[in-house]
């Protein structure tokens, strides 16, 4: 029996999501026996253009070279799975897309901005190619990644939990930090996946897993307002790690004035 082939590709990112594999401990060795890893630079395997069954892609697309490379990944891969917030929704670096700040920053930062080969926007992978499955989170949850790999090995689509974090928060018996402590928790609009880490640690969720299905961002914004957050702060609650995820972008823009100034 031939083992399925996989590749892990890196684009603009912090490397944290790839660690879901490298941090897997014994599971990493087990995985290496179940699949044939053809390309994974950080693990020492380099064959960028290898044809594979499943390609995992970390990072957002933010240079012309990356646009070209992600197209090659698509062409060489049976399935493309995005790994984490950057690949799935643009990630933190997509903050530069807001209000054309990219150009302003380029001017401010680089002596010769015309040579900086970055695109105006840092974009999710799906803005450039078809994506078969998306794993959210900044970083992804390692257990979720391996579970997805397992389902793919079974020949079945992985589960895609899109429920609000509150469901999981309650299953974990965390005390609600919004109700019991007045914190601006984003759990009610954020998808599950992390295991409700922040509320379990007594703090508010900052939405690193992106928007949940049917997220009522208007009601959420109103609640944050009720907790005393100024509009710019409400905007920043939405415009953080998943600023370009549908739902969050519009919600953030509604409260967003300019340049996040305090008002």
């Amino acid at each position: 029996m031939t083992r399925p082939t996989i590749a892990v590709h890196k684009f603009s990112s912090c490397d944290g999501c790839q660690l879901a594999f490298l941090n897997a401990g014994e599971d990493l060795l087990e995985l290496a026996g179940l699949v044939d890893i053809r390309h994974f630079l950080e693990a020492g395997v380099a064959d960028e253009d290898a044809g594979v069954d499943i390609a995992f892609v970390e990072g957002s697309i933010s240079t012309a070279e990356e646009v070209e490379r992600i197209r090659r990944v698509r062409a060489n891969s049976g399935m493309v799975v995005t790994l984490g917030a950057c690949a799935t929704a643009g990630g933190l670096q997509a903050l530069r897309n807001l209000d054309g700040r990219n150009d302003a920053w380029k001017q401010a930062v680089y002596a010769q901005p015309e040579f900086i080969g970055t695109l105006e926007h840092a974009e999710p992978v799906a803005a450039h190619i078809d994506v078969d499955f998306a794993l959210w989170g900044c970083p992804v949850n390692g257990r979720q990644v391996l579970a997805a790999v397992r389902q793919l090995l079974f020949g079945v689509t992985p589960l895609d939990p899109r429920d609000k974090l509150c469901h999981e928060c309650k299953r974990q018996h965390a005390v609600c930090v919004m109700v019991a402590d007045g914190r601006p928790c984003m759990g009610p609009v954020t998808r599950t996946g992390c295991g409700a880490l922040c509320p379990r640690f007594g703090r508010d969720c900052y939405a690193c897993f992106g928007p949940a299905e049917n997220a009522n961002t208007a009601a959420m914004g109103a609640r944050l307002d009720g907790l005393g957050l100024p509009p710019a702060d409400i905007a920043r609650r939405f415009l953080f790690i998943n600023s370009h995820a549908p739902g969050f972008l519009e919600a953030g823009r509604k409260h967003y004035r300019s340049d996040f100034g305090d008002d």
Binding site: D15, G16, V45, N141, L197, R203, C208
Partner: protein, 431 residues
Amino acid sequence: MTERKVSIHVPALTRVEGEGSLRLRIEHGEIEELALTIFEPPRYFEKFLEGRRHHEVIDTVARICGICPIAYQMSAAQALENAFGMTPSDWVRDMRRVFYCGEWLQSHALHVHLLAAPDFLGFDSVVGMAEKYPDEVRRGLRLQGLGNRLIGLLGARSVHPVGARVGGFHRAPSLAEVDAMLDKLRGALPDAESLIAWAASLPMPDDPQDFVSVALRHPTDYPMTEGRIVADNGLDIDVADYESRFVEEHRAQSTALFSLLDGQPYLVGPLPRLNLNLDRLPASSRALLDATGVRFPSDNMFHSLLARTIEIHVALVEAIRLLEDYRVPDSPYAEPTVMAGSGCGATEAPRGLLWHRYVVDAAGIVRGARIVPPTSQNQARIEVDLRRSLLAFGLDHADDALRLRAETVIRNYDPCISCATHFLRLDVERR
């Protein structure tokens, strides 16, 4: 002798965090071109911070690097507390050290086993190495996993942990959790001990060279989260004075930025840390080091790997020491009194000194930020080392051997390219 013309291009370096490439051109036995290129696109972190409230910084800077988020969080917390004129409680300082021990364990174990050791044992990757050295690889994965769990104790998860905040931690672990962790840490000591002996026995090139070691130095402890910045050239300054001696410079033909100390390349990371702080090692770590027979301070860059294994032991010993005295505090943090100001922070990331400065306004909103990661500090040094290491190795070696040697040299620095690519003042010249 050599009349051949060699051009080696390693388009994508493997087993380094992030992506970089190396261009090497040798003509008539001379290195005509040697450039380590970082092609990770810039990620503008300092700009993202402007306009955000101080308490958002910790979660933001973690995202600069998935391998050493705690270093970013701890340097930032320190800098902001500094700006607010607050000193964290002893409990907080102890727990930060424990937190940091987790990162050293995790990052060093990852680097030693998954990234560097295959070089010295002649494997392409850890997967191949695991077949021949299953016990060693499993030992590494155990230590790495333990580091992750130790981070989780205070941070909930090991990549971009959520537990840290300005003023302390969001949550204090329970006694039961700490006890369970202590058991695991104690149980890992034999692994760390045998790891040091194993690392000392690895076939290492003997390659002495001149370099300036820079690290933090603490009055009593092995440096991690606090200290003055010192160097073996006599430098001894306060963290706040960093910018007066360290300058980032741009050089032609490279897209990366070089940090220089008084105009010269220098080295940060485990080897300089150890070289400068031998007298701060816990006694048991010191004894293990002495038993290797390797003389420190060492001027062999390849002893970085051995230094990492010593630091894995230090991390275990220190975490055990601090957690043995653990008590649950009344509050795991102190709320900062926000005021306008500016503050610096520096900690010893696994890869070396990580320096931050923030300017905040009276509302606690960040107005300016500067972050100097270890990889940019080592940049100049890596190129110097590459040039002379390859010459010492002998340019008439076959291409593959040259390439492997070059990669080995680079990987030995454990460069973290994601960290390095938030550079802000970057002048680019192309020909």
